[in-house]
């Protein structure tokens, strides 16, 4: 019972919420595909949320036992792949010119396909640094060497956060300026805030506020979930053709 800590409880909640959220988004995507509609942003968000769930679940497992596989999965999913996949959904919504979004998705897929076996099989890890209940972020430098697969993280995270948060802010500003679809505007504000919270984790760890980092990750997915529901189920419909065009360009449904 000693290892039931606040970070563990927060990680469990994050795992459940992100898992439910991923299922909702992916079922919505599958239903759209069955109707003959392409909704690649839902697929990208669904993958991102599955990775969010995988990262949080690995965190739960690592609270109890040391496992090189789960540490690699925690790092690969949580630190490397989540942000760019969530950002990719927004890229699909907002970058509709040519095939740019599809090309970015392929580049992202290629990086993920290369970095997963790299993290799992070719990254030496020092399990001696692990203790039950310890925060993985505190021991990362002791467990994994700098360089190697870790070199991808800053680029992937910065890109993913800019795409997700920037895209949500852009959409919110657009709705605000046109004074339409207030619920979508608020929803996009929530998505932007939710995308920023996990990204602030590094700063919180440096400030020795480790438990706030777990809280940030949990609140991040809750805010994105709430924001997604508000944008996808927006009740107030646009009135003019121009408003309909803006709404369809930034809709998350």
């Amino acid at each position: 019972m000693q290892s039931i800590t606040l970070p563990l409880i927060l990680s469990l909640i994050t795992t459940m919420i992100s898992g439910i959220f991923a299922a909702i988004v992916l079922l919505r995507w599958r239903a759209a595909v069955k109707e003959g509609k392409q909704r690649p942003h839902l697929r990208a968000w669904g993958i991102g949320l599955l990775l969010y769930c995988l990262g949080a679940f690995s965190q739960v497992v690592l609270s109890f036992m040391w496992s090189q596989v789960f540490f690699a999965l925690w790092y690969w999913a949580g630190a490397l792949a989540v942000a760019p996949w969530l950002g990719q959904g927004t890229v699909y919504l907002l970058w509709r010119r040519g095939n740019i979004a599809r090309n970015i998705e392929m580049a992202l897929l290629l990086v993920c396909v290369m970095t997963l076996p790299w993290a799992l099989f070719l990254t030496p890890m020092n399990g001696a640094a692990w203790r039950p209940g310890i925060d993985m972020n505190l021991i990362i430098n002791d467990v994994m060497q700098r360089g190697g697969v870790r070199a991808f993280v800053p680029v992937m995270n910065v890109w993913g956060t800019i795409a997700l948060v920037g895209g949500a802010l852009y959409s919110a500003r657009l709705f605000n300026r046109k004074q339409i679809l207030r619920s979508r505007m608020v929803g996009n504000w929530l998505i932007a805030a939710g995308g920023l919270l996990p990204a602030l984790g590094g700063a919180l760890i440096r400030l020795n506020l480790v438990e706030l980092n777990y809280l940030g990750i949990m609140l991040g997915v809750i805010l994105i979930f709430r924001g997604y529901l508000m944008t996808a189920n927006a009740p107030d419909e646009p009135k003019t053709a121009n408003q309909q065009r803006i709404a369809s360009e930034t809709a998350g449904d």
Binding site: G98, N99, I100, R102, N103, M106, A107, L109, L110, V113, M114, P117, W118, L122, G148
Partner: protein
Amino acid sequence: MAQLLPLLRDIHYWLSRAGLVIGLIMLGIAILIGLIRHGDVTVLFRRATYAVVVFVGIECLIGLAMYLSGARPGEEVHLIYGAGALLALPFFIFVETTAKKRPAMGSYIWAFTLMIAIFVRGIMTGAPR
């Protein structure tokens, strides 16, 4: 197979350099057609890309044969770069051949840029230390 190892090593070495040059030439052509002339992918360009895929496949097979013969790259991550180089072009060929929005030469600019970057990293990690 062990007797063939020095020969395979030489072929692997020279094909990697040739692949880099071919990738740069293809990237140049893709930029010329796509960005400067704003044209679409030609049949000849697509066939040349398929030929490069076969070329990279042969390079990877030689690398695999060397590995099975007991040779090891300078860094193990060379194997990841090999797999990445092999996958880079097919991923973007899929995007281009299924694209509804034309022209779609941008896919090959992405493809050859990434392939060149992976080749450079592959060459850097391949030589024994």
